[in-house]
Amino acid sequence: MLKYIAKRILLIIPVIIGITLFIYLLLDFAPGDPVALLLGADATQEQMDALRHELGLDQNVFIRYLNYMKQVLQGDLGASWFNSRPIMDEFLERFPNTLALAFSALFITIVFGLSFGTLAAVNQNTPLDGITLIFALLFASMPSFWFGLMLQILFALKLQWFPAMGVGTIKHMVLPAITLSLGTIANQVRMTRSSILDVIDMNYVRTARSKGASEFHVVYHHVIRNALMPVVTNWGLTFATAFGGTIISETVFSIPGISSYLINAVKVRDVPVVMGTVIIVAIIVALINLVIDLIYAVIDPRVKLGYTS
């Protein structure tokens, strides 16, 4: 088991190198001079050269990348080119907000997705099933920024049940988390439903029925756990989607999270900030996927025994 975890963590490294290298090259290749952007239109050539040297931009891009990665390995993500604040500090401040948001969305998605998906599957081809599916599709068709704005106007500005923006209390979290889960719930419902329907047709479920178990017993003991397997594997993707979606939620509800930080950095091409965010996000996503794989192992004895033997 430990060996497996270690192996998985080691496998994250090449992926991180790959994605950072890609983005580093991409940002370098992009038209426009970041130094000119930084200094404004009326900077002299000397000023620009000086800054370029200071930022190390006069070196070959691969050497710069190597130097950057060396620095990252020591735990230093560097400082923003714009306000010179250490990126790590900024992260530590903003990260909890984003993570809390992403996790609450994941939580909402799983709870609602599983229960409605199961409900629809068990009542297959009834009006309940149809309505659930239509609602799932309706939600999947809404742009989350629009949904967020509507929630904000209705529940925060008009009804004043929840604060309209910022962070602080649980109440602040409600609307952004709902907005965020919008995109993932529909998919979760559908996956759960189809997975349960797949399992319900399996021969071992018929075996369980032939033992004289009640329908509830059959679904609870024999269907759900097996049906969960493909659903659980998808949680990694769900989390990644939710994590990506925080960009919208944070923008609509003005939450000082990592995503809003990234948007600004992207707009002014603040390379260290973009790189830092990508590295951190990639690590988080990879770790979450690892955790999900471990959960999977608990559910599926084949995988569990595969690890230990």
Binding site: I19, L27, A140, S141, F145, W146
Partner: protein, 289 residues
């Protein structure tokens, strides 16, 4: 009995179509979507592009009326015109994204799945890299690097979509390449290309088409999301995301500014989703009945 007659001597494609037509919601959606697409495509014939971009401060915030069915925005531009012309970018950029992701995904996935071995290993490691960060982050980075034009937007999302397409194609091909009819084809010396094109892709393409349809909806939404964030199409070109972003602070006072464009987007995307859903059921009849 009559149904049985009808199903006789139909190709698989015919059967799928037959089942698809039985799904009323999906079938209606096809027509609605065609209508929307025509309205958007033929816009220049019945509506001046100027109405969508020309600012006219004296006419700002006019509530929906006969002349401006969706009202006007804060710069006095006709909102219906903006929604329709905005749809050109959202819908067609979305279609382009799906088309190219589909093509590249099928190529990469087929090669990877059919040949397996080290080819598969290398391709899949690349795919892993692009799946390491949420797509919208990746798309943002690419768009910033290349510049915010419709073409670059499409390129960014194509790069983001290729991994998931390749994976679906790959796994469907890995099951198909062990089918006995593929072996039968090998027995008479069929070339690899012909096996892939004639025996594997036609049988494995179904789930990929479903994914493509469903992800068309997602693509439309993602493109407008970037627009909303100010990273998509540069103003004043109308686009569904930017259009809402422009008006976002006024929606609470003039709700039509938010509701009507929103409904337009939802209607379009929902049609796409219903069609995808119908296709999925038609391809996998087990899910019904």
């Amino acid at each position: 009995m009559k149904k049985k007659e009808k199903a006789k001597s139909q190709s698989q494609l015919g059967l799928i179509l037959f089942r698809f037509k039985k799904n009323k919601l999906a079938y209606i959606s096809v027509y609605v979507l065609i209508l929307i697409a025509l309205a958007i495509l033929l816009a220049p014939l019945y509506m001046d592009y100027d109405k969508a971009i020309k600012q006219n401060i004296s006419e700002r915030f006019i509530s929906p009326c006969w002349e401006h069915p969706f009202g006007t925005d804060l710069y006095g531009r006709d909102l219906l015109a903006r929604v329709i012309y905005g749809g050109r970018i959202s819908l067609f950029a979305g279609l382009a994204v799906i088309l190219f992701s589909f093509i590249f995904g099928v190529i990469i996935g087929s090669i990877s799945g059919y040949f397996g071995g080290w080819v598969d290993q290398i391709l899949m490691r690349f795919i892993d890299i692009f799946m390491a960060v949420p797509t919208i982050f990746l798309a943002m980075a690419i768009v910033t690097a290349l510049g915010a034009t419709p073409v670059n937007l499409v390129i960014a999302f194509v790069i983001c979509n290729i991994p998931s397409y390749s994976r679906i194609v790959r796994s469907s091909i890995m099951t198909l390449r062990n089918m006995e009819y593929v072996e039968a084809a090998k027995c008479c010396g069929t070339s690899n290309l012909r096996i892939i094109l004639k025996h594997i892709i036609p049988n494995g393409i179904g789930p990929v088409i479903v994914t493509a349809t469903i992800s068309l909806g997602t693509a439309i939404l993602s493109i407008s999301s970037l627009g909303f964030l100010g990273l998509g199409i540069a103003p004043p070109t109308p686009e569904w995301g930017t259009l809402l972003a422009d008006n976002r602070y006024y929606i609470r006072y003039y709700p039509y500014l938010g509701i009507l464009p929103g409904v337009a987007i939802i209607l379009t995307v929902m049609c796409v989703n219903f069609i995808g859903d119908g296709l999925r059921d038609a391809l996998d009849p087990k899910m019904k009945k």
